[in-house]
């Protein structure tokens, strides 16, 4: 039994992305979900399944209270953090293939810039569990943790800050062409090198932005999607993975080598496709080095060669392997990776603002350091 081509993305929607939405997260969630349903030609009455991020502040009951969802039956949630962007799609596809639901809404809503900022430390007086062995020494934010992975990649493979910069320049160029993007001013490699250090080796322009906004995706059966408003986008493969010590991640055995190789193998096997078939990749880019490490994990280049791989414009939308043609977490908006699936859908519908010629297979994948998840999408 396989999920291959059993389910399809039928609708996508998002709010405006901003530094201060002036709206509740509940309002943002409702707006994004209504936009995605409208995109598909559906209404909340058609929805019988819902998948949320376990970190979302909006729960199922809030949505039923405000959107109706009179036919809602199946509900699920997934973690962790940025892996959710692809994991929610995997859950939705599984529910549809298993007959648990017919129309599933996936969403993520957060006022992460005007509300609780991930880039600022919580002012806690104590730290328990694994944090007892990290926080007292000032390892408090995601940049502090993920910089260790960047360091080891540099130490073991000679990867350079300029190569991280190549990623930043590409992502910003894509954002400069995307009217939804929060950061539209192009940057050069020199701008990247001149940007201030945050947690050496990570510079400001290696870090993603913080955003307010929401995003939603409607998944239904491949058959049903045929009859809906938009060209369908098939879910050819979906996978999630963990690896050991997904909690105290800096204590993993090997920080230079990606943990998501199992996820990569699973998603390719399910889809019957390989990296050579992929026309564009949407990578969870919380920090630029993870674009490099993900390219290695998902088989686009050997482990250790990702730094050289991203040089020379290869990952630009008009390059050999376009990456994050929306601008990513880095420059479009940080909605926990769900906009990556929206952009993958746009590419396969032919409606991206940095459209890749004849895009037929797009991989969306997330996180090589904590949990990982990936979906392979194809033109219906």
């Amino acid at each position: 039994m396989t999920l291959r081509n059993r389910a399809a993305i039928a609708g996508v929607g998002q709010t405006l992305y901003s530094k201060n939405s002036g709206k509740t997260e509940l309002r943002l969630a409702c707006e994004a979900i209504l936009a995605a349903l409208s995109d598909a030609g559906l209404t909340p009455d058609d929805v019988d399944g819902l998948v949320r991020f376990d970190m979302d502040n909006i729960d199922d009951t809030a949505l039923t209270s405000h959107l109706g969802f009179r036919n809602l039956g199946w509900m699920s949630q997934t973690g962790y953090g940025g892996t959710g962007g692809n994991a929610v799609i995997a859950h939705a596809a599984a529910a549809i293939a298993g007959g648990l639901a017919k129309v599933v809404v996936c969403f993520r809503a957060l006022n992460e810039r005007s509300g609780v900022r991930y880039g600022q430390a919580k002012q806690a007086t104590s730290a328990g569990g694994v944090l007892a062995f990290q926080n007292p020494w000032g390892m408090l934010t995601p940049a502090h943790k993920f910089a260790h992975f960047a360091r080891r990649h540099m130490v073991e493979f000679g990867t350079t800050s300029r190569q991280f910069g190549e990623v930043a320049v590409a992502l910003r160029r894509h954002a400069s062409r995307n009217p939804l993007a929060m950061m539209q001013k192009p940057i050069s490699l020199e701008d990247h090198q001149a940007s201030r250090m945050i947690a050496d080796p990570l510079r400001l322009f290696d870090c993603c932005i913080e955003s307010d906004g929401a995003c939603a995706i409607v998944v239904t059966s491949a058959e049903h999607a045929k009859d809906l408003k938009q060209p369908r986008v098939l879910i050819a493969g979906a996978a999630q993975g963990s690896g050991s010590r997904a909690q105290g991640i800096v204590f993993r055995d090997d920080l230079a080598r990606p943990e998501s190789t199992h996820t990569a193998a699973d998603v390719y096997r399910m889809a019957g496709l390989g990296p050579q078939d992929v026309d564009a990749v949407m990578i969870y880019d919380h920090f630029t080095p993870f674009v490099i490490m993900s390219l290695e994990a998902y088989g686009f280049c050997p482990v250790g060669e990702g730094g050289r791989f991203v040089e020379g414009g290869r990952i630009h939308f008009d390059g050999e392997l376009p990456v994050n043609t929306h601008g990513g977490n880095h420059s479009e908006a940080y909605i926990h990776g769900l906009p990556h699936v929206v952009e993958a859908t746009r590419q396969l519908r032919g409606t991206s603002t940095s459209q890749v010629n004849n895009a037929e297979v797009v991989l969306s994948c997330s996180s090589v350091a904590q949990l990982s998840a990936a979906v392979l999408l194809t033109k219906g």
């Binding site: 007086t125 104590s126 328990g128 000032g138 947690a199 204590f251």
Partner: protein, 133 residues
């Protein structure tokens, strides 16, 4: 020693370790059944799943595995304390422990260089471990 940081919470799984720190010892948990060292301290060996633990005094020196120099303060208490260095230090049993490099003076750090364990007092009078070159 960074000031104003959260205090480590001691629980049943970590009590022997923090008792060791109080007497200036780094007692790293090892599996009694298979000998594997583990970090951070936890209730079970993730290699053979035994719950029997032996607390071995680790004196070092260790070797530098990774280092991050934080220059941007993300907590009000850190504003006057940046830059500070967080290091991951590997010991002979492959266990890697995180701490601050207390005597960093801006020099370049090198993969594998030797670092020594030191003990310092927190504001609340409890002991904490760190590293020096």
């Amino acid at each position: 020693m960074l000031r104003g940081m959260p205090a480590p919470v001691v629980d049943f799984d970590t009590q022997p370790f923090w008792d060791g720190v109080a007497s200036e010892k780094l007692l790293v948990p090892h599996c009694k059944a298979c000998g594997t060292g583990r970090w951070p301290p936890g209730p079970v060996c993730d290699k053979c799943w035994s719950t029997e633990t032996e607390w071995k005094n680790t004196v070092g020196p260790g070797r530098l595995y990774s280092w991050v120099v934080t220059t941007h303060a993300t907590h009000p208490a850190l504003t006057s304390q940046v830059p500070y260095v967080v290091v991951l230090v590997e010991f002979d049993d492959k266990v890697r422990i995180l701490g601050n490099l207390v005597n960093w003076d801006g020099e370049t750090l090198v993969d594998g260089q030797e670092l020594h364990v030191v003990f310092e007092e927190r504001e609340d009078g409890t002991k904490i471990y760190n590293f020096r070159t």
